[in-house]
């Protein structure tokens, strides 16, 4: 997807319409990441809400000249979700999604009726190697750096890069050519 730079600039100038369009484009993908981290749909929506308020209030800190807008938002979302999981209120509340990573979330989702997207995707995800699932989970959902991932997987830094390439290539074949 091409990044809608004109909308982002309009939002940075205070255009609420542009902000709403961007929300429509990105909110679902970010909610998926947040939900994987907080494992509770209600809490995930609360976090998503805070994240978009932050995006609006801090939009001047992003520049279309450098970095992906989605990556910038992704960092805000993951940090907010991780902060949430460290809060006292969160620790005291029971989580309604018993999941370790996005695959479990996908499974839970595909069991609900009418989630054809998830059902279709799950078939492909099932074909992903476990090592790829773990790698994508760490890099994308949990926000690990390359160095942290290498340490977690006990692999050299270069291997993390190569695997990231291969695993996400697999994913692309599944989701983009569906």
């Amino acid at each position: 997807m091409k990044q809608p730079d004109d909308l982002i600039i309009k939002m940075q100038q205070g255009n609420e319409q542009a902000f709403e369009t961007l929300y429509t484009m990105y909110s679902k993908a970010l909610l998926g990441v947040i939900a994987t981290l907080v494992r509770d749909e209600t809490i995930a929506e609360e976090v998503l809400q805070d994240v978009f308020v932050k995006i609006w209030n801090n939009s001047h800190m992003y520049s279309v000249q450098k970095g992906r807008f989605y990556t910038w938002m992704l960092n805000i979302a993951r940090n907010a979700a991780i902060d949430k999981t460290r809060s006292k209120a969160y620790k005291n509340a029971g989580k309604n999604l018993a999941a370790d990573n996005f695959v479990h979330i996908l499974e839970a989702r595909s069991n609900e009726t009418g989630k054809l997207d998830a059902i279709g995707l799950k078939k492909y995800i099932d074909a992903l190697k476990p090592v790829c699932i773990q790698l994508i989970d760490l890099l994308y959902f949990k926000g690990y750096t390359q160095a942290e991932t290498a340490e977690e997987l006990d692999s050299p830094l270069g291997t993390v890069k190569t695997r990231a390439r291969n695993c996400i290539n697999e994913l692309r074949k599944m989701v983009l050519n569906r």
Partner: protein, 263 residues
């Protein structure tokens, strides 16, 4: 690295997930500016990851956007409903000022009340002292009255000595059973400065006077009624005027009153 090397390296994937070091990130950003194919590749990686997490997401409730707009609408655009915002601010400040004024007023009220409590407490102490004095006095008076009215105490009238004080008169209330007696000296003139009345009890045969009391608190005694200790077996009482502090033996030239106890 050329275009294809960068694409194949895995750097772009890590760039999208935000996992690169600052150095590598800048490297990728430069490459994106330079090669449109790299930018296109980044977009594809991003799309794939977004689709993945969208699949892991429940549908986003409408309430989320409503809450976001409630918090962001008009917050940054200065020309948006300025009146209403100002009004809120004014109301807020007014409430704060009122609140502070209220607090100060209450503190003042409280201090005033504390002052009044202090004054009242002082008054209470004074009144309590007065009450105690009155009660003591009342008890004394009751005691005197009881003595005077009682059958146990016999009044012995001591008429004035014709030679010294013909108009003087004193009364001793005494009882055979008690070791105390009460001397009423209302009928005696005020003693001159430096002099005191001294009360004596006497036995007649032989005539032996014994001092039973020096009335040195004459001025302080409101009723001129003195409580004195007596010795049993006495037959008469007399009162003489003596130098301050009293004397060993009565000065008979200054014998004011004398009376015998009639059995």
């Amino acid at each position: 690295m050329n275009e294809q090397d960068i694409i194949a390296s895995g750097l772009l994937e890590l760039y999208v997930t935000g996992s690169l070091s600052e150095e590598d990130r800048l490297k990728v950003e430069t490459a994106i500016q330079e090669y449109p194919a790299i930018k296109e590749e980044v977009e594809k990686i991003e799309s794939a990851l977004m689709q993945l997490s969208e699949s892991a997401s429940a549908p986003v409730s409408d309430s989320v956007w409503r809450e976001i707009t409630a918090q962001t609408s008009g917050v940054r655009t200065l020309d948006h409903k300025p009146k209403r915002r100002n009004w809120n601010a004014i109301t807020g400040w007014a409430a704060a000022i009122l609140c502070f004024a209220g607090i100060f007023w209450m503190i003042k009220q409280n201090n005033d009340l504390k002052d009044r409590i202090r004054v009242t407490n002082t008054n209470n102490v004074v009144l309590k002292e007065k009450l105690e004095n009155t009660e003591t006095k009342l008890a004394e008076n009751s005691e005197y009255l009881e003595v005077i009215l009682s059958d146990d105490f016999t009044p012995v009238v001591l008429p004035g000595n014709e030679a010294v004080a013909p108009d003087a008169l004193a009364t001793v209330y005494f009882s055979e059973e008690e070791t105390v007696a009460y001397v009423d000296v209302n009928g005696l003139p005020e003693p001159p400065e430096g002099k005191v009345y001294q009360v004596w009890s006497l036995t007649m045969n032989p005539l032996t006077p014994t001092s039973i009391g020096v009335l040195d608190s004459y001025d302080d005694n409101e009723y001129k009624l003195f409580k004195i200790e007596i010795i049993p077996g006495q037959e008469a009482f007399g009162i003489t005027l003596e130098p301050a502090g009293g004397s060993e033996a009565p000065t008979l030239e200054q014998l004011y009153t004398l009376g015998t106890i009639t059995p």
